[in-house]
Symmetry: C2
Subunit: 267 residues, 2 copies
């Protein structure tokens, strides 16, 4: 039974794809068997790991629309202990189609059951929206990680996000927890970043001991520093470890993976 992580934030351009790919890669490097799933019709995760959305025969779109396809057909190996199920632009059409029916939240969860025992971790890259694709990710997930930039307007989006997670908890996935905030493109020496992080930590401390799905949520460490190598890697279809293993980006995501694993082990 793998641990399923939804990398989620309805705000765009906050670091979901960069974090999904590189945290997954760091976890794989540390010995975990990981499957990445691209749930974004933009298919940036797919491009990031060097695959062509239009060239892969069986994609997550097929799993949503064709019950005769199996998750096993969709899996592509991208690195040692790292597999991926890719997206394609047609997934956008599936999203509007699916959102017209109310019982389509568990399609991905059901489809993935047939191969889940192959993995220790499943990492789902979500689109920048709170629609049926993200709801499928939340319905299947054990935990939610929220990448964000420590900016003022980013805080606005967090409450809306938590509200959505709360609704999914009540309706289809009572065990779901928001376990971590990933600080992306972080400028730790600025007053703004310090104040936003302070606000976040205070908010989560005040929810300890409640029954909120974010009661155990921490600001994960280390923050991921701004590093141009992280922005270059996708243009080569590589993870940061394949592209520039000595970079700050690689160091930060490796340290983040250790922090996450320690959290799972209760250390």
């Amino acid at each position: 039974m793998p641990r399923v992580i939804a990398m989620m934030n309805q705000k765009g351009g906050v670091g979901k794809t960069t974090s999904a790919v590189n945290l997954a890669a760091a976890l794989a490097a540390s010995g975990q068997r990981v499957c990445l799933i691209d749930l974004d019709p933009q298919a940036h995760m797919t491009l990031h790991v060097g695959l062509d959305p239009e060239a892969i025969e069986c994609t997550v779109y097929d799993l949503f629309t064709d019950p005769t396809r199996s998750a096993a057909e969709a899996v592509v190996n991208v690195d040692e202990r790292l597999d991926a199920i890719v997206s394609e632009t047609d997934l956008a059409a599936a999203e509007s189609e699916l959102s017209q029916h109310s019982d389509r939240q568990r399609i991905l969860a059901e489809s993935f059951k047939s191969i889940e025992d192959r993995y220790d971790v499943v990492m789902i890259d979500c689109p920048p929206s709170l629609g049926v694709l993200t709801i499928n990710a939340l319905s299947m997930a054990d935990e939610v990680l929220v990448p964000m930039q420590a900016h003022f307007l980013a805080l606005q989006g967090v409450s809306k996000l938590l509200e959505t997670v709360g609704l999914v908890c009540q309706s289809v996935n009572p065990g779901l927890e928001v376990t971590g905030i990933i600080l992306c493109m972080h400028e730790r020496h600025t007053n703004l970043a310090r104040e936003v992080v302070e606000d976040l930590k205070t908010f989560f401390e005040e929810s300890r001991g409640t029954d909120a799905p974010w009661r155990n949520c921490r600001v994960l460490e280390p923050p991921i520093r701004r590093n141009i190598k992280l922005a270059e890697a996708p243009s080569f279809g590589q993870t940061i470890f394949q592209y520039e293993p000595a970079s700050h980006g690689a160091t930060d995501y490796t340290a983040l993976a250790s922090f996450v694993i320690d959290g799972w082990n209760g250390t």
Copy 2:
């Protein structure tokens, strides 16, 4: 007859709101009478200029849903020669309601007619989507400005954007042109930024003399450098000129406004 600008990019977090507010403020400072319009249910533009989306009595939501309200009731003054029509979260509900009817593209244009003579420039901050709100902006606009970060994945979004502009041109607004790319959060000394800018310039040069809506599109100058002051200003409800007039952010948007005005004057 004001010049109407749609500040547009369906990708999230690329600098639309920051650019809409600060370019509008720079234009106002240079003597233009400017009206900002917040078309995003997130209402970040509204917050950025120090207004409370839930406290303003007549918002853009009312203009979309209540034909008895006039644009004049919605206008709020925020600075010298700078007015705003604000958004509110209910606008999200209006968006899904409106998108179910096919003839709702010109609601904003029709509503604004009654006050257009008060202004030289109208600056519309678009949401990160290609839905009916953005289509309303494109139906009313004379020109489209596209803020983006010079990153690999950002290029992917540009072709989709241009396709949408093309469709609006054909159907409701033949005069519409994409006139400029605004480079936001720019790191000019990186290879990645240089290569992406090169790609953009080549693409636009090859479209000169065609009838594409982007045939006269330029990469505007200067690029807007990453500057924490630009991210801090919204938390104080201020434009960069009110918050930190000596900052690089202020300097860059002032220079950008001059470049844009020179373009209008053909100089």
